[in-house]
């Protein structure tokens, strides 16, 4: 399941694991907003997405992870909009028959998402703001 959320992500909802017994291992990654970057205090993050392409690229990441690690399921929810420190920006849940594939598949999913998906975050400080990764 791949979703872009415009409201706070309900982790309890995501962790409702189907009880069919197909998967022996469930691994999750939750990315939250840090309140500092390089010792500067972060006031908020602003996440922007090119939504139709972001959904397509998220699906591609999930498919690649599933194929590479023989996963049973991949769930990705990425939030956009204004997020405050402590809020959940992204949640990934991966299910596999055994834990090694689940751990590796989850790691691969977040690492690849961060390289390919057209989503951007702007860090807002008290005295300025910057788009992460912007190379002037």
């Amino acid at each position: 399941m791949i979703t872009i959320a415009h409201a706070p992500i309900d982790l309890a909802d995501l962790f409702r694991i189907p009880g069919d017994g197909a998967s022996g291992g469930v691994v999750s990654f939750v990315g939250t907003v840090r309140d500092h970057t390089a010792q500067r205090r972060v006031v908020r993050l602003e996440y922007e997405a090119y939504e139709p392409m972001a959904l397509r690229e998220l699906e591609a990441v999930a498919r690649a992870a599933t194929d590479r690690f023989a996963l049973d399921a991949v769930t990705i929810v990425h939030r956009v909009g204004i997020l405050l420190p402590g809020e959940v920006a992204v949640a990934i849940l991966v299910r596999a028959a055994h834990r090694a594939a689940a751990f590796d598949g989850c790691r691969f999913t977040i690492d690849t998402l961060k390289q390919t998906v057209p989503i951007w975050k702007k860090e807002v400080f008290a005295d300025g703001e910057t788009w992460v990764g912007d190379r002037p």
Partner: protein, 79 residues
């Protein structure tokens, strides 16, 4: 032929627009589009971005068709 150009994040802020419509010659490539748009918005010159056409990453020599949606993808920072 009319194509739509989408801008995001730092590029959107620098240009001051999130989208524009361009009228290009038939057979124009992404590279031709970039030459045109950098002429209109010189702030884009020398900026770093990938290109997507109709929601897929593509190269600058890709030929465009009427109604295509091109996006300039600055360095991504999701997750």
């Amino acid at each position: 032929m009319k194509v739509r150009l989408r801008l995001f994040a730092a590029l959107r802020e620098q240009v001051g627009l999130d989208e524009l419509e361009l009228d290009l010659a038939p057979g124009a490539t992404v590279d031709d589009l970039l030459t045109r748009v950098c002429g209109i918005h010189p702030v884009l010159r020398g900026r770093s971005f990938a290109i997507a056409v109709n929601h897929s990453y593509t190269g600058r020599d890709r030929s465009l068709a009427a109604g295509d949606e091109v996006a300039l993808i600055p360095p991504v920072s999701g997750g």
